[in-house]
């Protein structure tokens, strides 16, 4: 194949370079055009955004600043072919506008509007040379699609990240492990416990026992309205696991309903250290830790 392919190669190589040259000339031309008519095109875009009722969460001033940045970033991507800067900007923008309730379709909407505005202006400029127009659009469209895609993906990623962050924060807030004094932790359980939260609670408590070298844990479930069997099982496991790490667990605020659930799943309540309310639980905890309790309530001392 050597001789033949050698000849073939030459012709095809020429063709390829010719093609590449055209592209290389076109993009700078295109970029120059978009830079030259920057203010007019940007205004047209902004008014299209308003007509479409997009981004109404933003003030006109903010809008002016952001559209300017988006426009410049957009042209820069066309010029350099690199979406990195745009990606960073889109992420940053998303972070700022997501808390204000801007939706995904709005963001995608404005980028597509810009794409149309620019495409239309290219149409006007090159309409007399149909062949050239075709090539301009061939060069423009893939880049424009890539930009739209980048912005949309950045926005959605950022949104997901924020949602995850918020979920984590909420979870942490709802299962705090509080060191009240040396060797003593309080774990107030507030709100509905599903098995995922119950599981996290256990992990946090066990880690907390080690960090604080806790010997006694008061688990107050006054604020937990209801637990199903799975979660009840989980609570019992938490008590057992804490014991394995050398900490005793006192349960306070056990409602008759939850007590019933515990009995149903076969928990021997006499083996669990349960005390009526948090105050009583803390006193019992101090007794276990060997502190003197000044105010004695009932038979707790």
């Amino acid at each position: 194949m050597d001789e033949n392919s050698g000849i073939d190669t030459r012709t095809e190589a020429d063709f390829l370079t010719h093609d590449a040259q055209v592209d290389e000339e076109l993009l700078p031309q295109l970029v120059a055009h978009l830079r030259e008519h920057r203010s007019r095109l940007r205004e047209e875009w902004a008014s299209r955004i308003q007509e479409a009722h997009l981004l109404h969460a933003m003030t006109p001033q903010e809008m002016a600043v952001e559209t300017k940045s988006v426009y410049d970033n957009y042209v820069e991507v066309l010029e350099t072919g690199s979406v990195e800067a745009l990606q960073d900007y889109a992420r940053d923008l998303s972070e700022r506008i997501i808390p204000r309730g801007v939706e995904t379709q709005e963001v995608v909407g404005i980028v597509l509007l810009l794409r149309d505005v620019l495409a239309r202006s290219l149409f006007e400029k090159y309409q007399r040379d149909f062949g050239l127009l075709n090539r301009v659009l061939d060069a423009y469209e893939p880049a424009a699609n890539r930009i739209a895609n980048t912005v949309a993906v950045s926005f959605v990623d950022e949104r997901e990240r924020i949602i995850r962050q918020q979920q984590d924060a909420i979870r942490e807030l709802s299962t705090p492990v509080l060191p009240v004094r040396e060797r003593l932790l309080i774990l107030p359980i507030i709100g509905v416990l599903d098995s995922e939260r119950a599981r996290q609670l256990t992990e946090q408590l066990l880690a907390g026992i080690r960090t604080h070298r806790a010997k006694v844990v008061v688990m107050d479930i006054t604020g937990a309205p209801d637990v199903d069997e799975t979660v009840a099982n989980h609570l019992v496991q938490t008590v057992d696991a804490s014991r394995l790490m050398g900490a005793s667990v006192i349960i306070t605020g056990l409602s008759p309903k939850i007590a019933q659930t515990l009995v149903t799943i076969g928990v021997d309540l006499s083996k669990m250290n349960t005390i009526g309310d948090l105050q009583g639980g803390l006193e019992e905890a101090e007794r276990l830790l060997g502190y003197t309790v000044s105010r004695q309530v009932g038979s707790a001392g």
Partner: protein, 134 residues
């Protein structure tokens, strides 16, 4: 004073024995550890035994059962056993596996284990505040 290539070390400290597991043990190594420890308890007439399992990767049914066996045999020889160093993830997996029998005392770490034995061995069981899996 040891049970092979440094898988486990057993140190004598006064009337206590302190056994530290240094790595994951397979079942036969576990059994050998049990035999060695029981033998030394008898030899030294130990009053208390601390088993530090902080380096164990898991405590499955066999591992837990071996620890309970040791505790029970030590008791018959007049020694109190306390298990220390069970890691949070290991403790979680143990209870999730369903180990709900036995009553081997446990403590957070070596220091707590010594404090536990001190209370228990010198003042008798009634003053004890330590924990156990019941």
């Amino acid at each position: 004073m040891d049970t092979g290539p440094a898988l486990v070390s057993i140190l004598r400290q006064g009337s206590y024995l302190i056994a530290s597991v240094h790595t994951a043990l397979d079942d036969s190594q576990m059994v050998r550890f049990q035999q060695d420890l029981i033998e030394q308890i008898g030899q030294h007439r130990s009053r208390g035994v601390i088993i530090d399992v902080a380096a164990l990767d898991v405590l499955d049914s066999f591992g837990s059962k071996t620890l309970r066996n040791i505790s029970e045999m030590a008791r018959l020889r007049g020694a109190t056993t306390v298990i220390v160093g069970i890691q949070p993830d290991v403790a979680f997996a143990m209870v999730a596996l369903g180990m709900s029998t036995g009553s081997v005392p446990t403590a957070l770490d070596l220091e707590e284990g010594l404090a536990y034995l001190h209370d228990r061995v010198h003042t008798g069981p009634s003053a004890v505040t330590g924990s156990s899996l019941s």
